[in-house]
């Protein structure tokens, strides 16, 4: 019985995950696909032609989104690592309150916070600008990085740094040659998380960036309203590609006994 059930449920699971993608893939190349037909009668690459049009909204959206997500990834990883290290390795006054405040954005609805932030951003001239969007994207990303990095640093033996120092290495050398390679898996996972969250962020971008900052999700929503499903299908595929490329390079740190994964729940 076991031998029959296992492939069956595995198949069901795979189908359940990938079926929605299947219809998107088919839509992206369909020219016409009306109700009773199981498959489209005609195929075309129109969706992809529009998507990769150098002057089109989609490609420009990809460029804007990539720029923002990469910057957010780097900034969130830097800020979150520092906070994660502090939480995991040092004791200081009000540590519990600090931990709570750092993680609060995960619990408090982002929308509510952004309403308030928007007023401040307008006051300081940050609304409707890429700088403002990047700052706003740090709100939902930094807490995840703090969680991942505090797990990574909890498993990091500080004695390695002392060993480097007593061998004559400066603080910078110790960080570059000793600490960085050890915490690299955590950094990679943090960057991936921050990138993906920023990449698919819609509400914050809409509220802070207004109509001026057109990231890919903004463009996608505009197309969805237009109900050209071929275009939506193709654009969705394009939307999925960058995170998948990034996942390809960080996936080895996501599985197995990597300290950054086992430490995820330590905060």
């Amino acid at each position: 019985m076991k031998f029959i059930f296992r492939p069956f449920f595995l198949g069901l699971f795979v189908f359940w995950i990938f079926f929605p993608f299947l219809s998107i893939i088919i839509w992206s190349v369909a020219a016409g696909w009306r109700f009773p037909a199981l498959l489209p009668e005609e195929y075309s690459l129109r969706g992809y032609e529009v998507s990769f049009d150098p002057n089109g909204d989609i490609l420009r959206g990809v460029i804007t989104s990539t720029g923002i997500a990469l910057t957010v990834g780097v900034l969130a990883t830097l800020i979150g690592s520092a906070a994660g290290r502090a939480i995991a390795m040092y004791s200081f006054k009000m540590k519990k309150s600090f931990q709570f405040l750092v993680l609060a954005p995960l619990i408090v609805p982002g929308l509510a916070v952004t309403m308030g932030i928007q007023i401040l951003f307008i006051k300081y001239g940050l609304s409707d600008s890429i700088r403002g969007v990047i700052l706003a994207h740090l709100i939902p990303t930094v807490p995840y990085v703090v969680m991942i990095m505090s797990g990574t640093f909890a498993n990091f033996d500080r004695a390695y740094e002392e060993q480097g120092q007593v061998l004559g290495a400066s603080r910078v050398t110790v960080m570059r040659k000793i600490t960085l390679p050890i915490i690299l898996p955590g950094l990679a996972v943090s960057f991936l998380f921050a990138f993906v969250i920023s990449w698919s962020e819609y509400i914050l971008t809409l509220l802070v960036g207004g109509a001026a900052v057109k990231t890919l999700p903004m463009v996608l929503f505009a197309f969805l309203r237009g109900s050209d499903l071929t275009l939506v299908g193709a654009a969705s595929i394009v939307f999925m590609i960058p995170p998948l490329i990034l996942l390809r390079f960080t996936s080895k740190h996501l599985v197995g006994r990597s300290s950054s994964v086992t430490g995820l729940g330590s905060v």
Partner: protein, 351 residues
Amino acid sequence: MKKSGIRIENIEKSFGSNPVLKGINLDVSSGQLVSILGSSGCGKTTLLRIVAGLERATSGHVYFSEELQDQITVEKRSIAMVFQKALLFPSMTIGENVAFSLRASKNRPKNIEKKVEDMLELVKLPGFASRRPGELSGGQEQRVSLARALMRNPKVLLLDEPLSALDANLRVEMRNFIREIHDSFEMTTLFVTHDQEEAMALSDKIAFMESGVLEQYDVPQSFVSTPETRKVAKFFGCRNLLTGKIVGNSFETQFGVLTLDSSHSKGSLVAARQEDLTITREKTKHSFPAKVISWQFAGSRISINCEAPNTVDSNSTEIIVESDRFADFEVNEQIHISYDPARLHVILRDS
């Protein structure tokens, strides 16, 4: 007088309101290997970390070759340190680990690879340069750690219990190896350990600490023959610490008067090591009566518990005698315990 390699002057250290080191003074001659010995929590590791610069003393000074170190940061001190764990950097090969201090320094020397290979040969691990840290045994890892430290050519080598993570056979081998290495380099070595045997076997001098106080600083044999305090005598295994009154060269105890080999004007505590006492059937020139209570084997020797009846009251004083062969005494047999006046040591500082 020999040149001073490390001078520790009046070091005090407290963590919060908890004093860990209470006025430590220590002068280590250049080129010597000195052990800092003590049970865990006595402050020996903290002292070593202060010498390294990893910890700041609350007050006091550290000098290397008469040069004040207090304002010099860790990485600029002419030291190298080996910890209890080998701490080989996991992202580097063995060779890169050994070469670490060379690559980290501002003026990199040429032919690093040759130097690394020579150093690995010295620690008896030739050809290991391309291996990775996880592939080595505990003893090999610690040898790499030592090689990595020596590569810096330090004036002062600091070892923080480098052998305590190894198993017993390897420990003996490694401590002899450390002594050899020390002798072939021109450096002063501080070796922190809790293992009395290790310290005795390896050191030119031992600094014995307890509760943040330096109890005695001397050559190894003095800790056995002439302990300065009760704590030292106890730590180094003296089982008979007799109290009494010293008048001239006689020592008036509760079980009779013992003869000392010289006159003392003060002191009330005498250390009589169990292996310096012998059990005899007849009275000798220097002996006192006692009764055998029990015995037990202690390794290849036997430890005999005796009781000497007090002359002042009806109680008795427990005396332990250790003998290297089995003597056929019965339990409860009346015997005499003989001693050598020269081997009775008066403890002058009884804190």
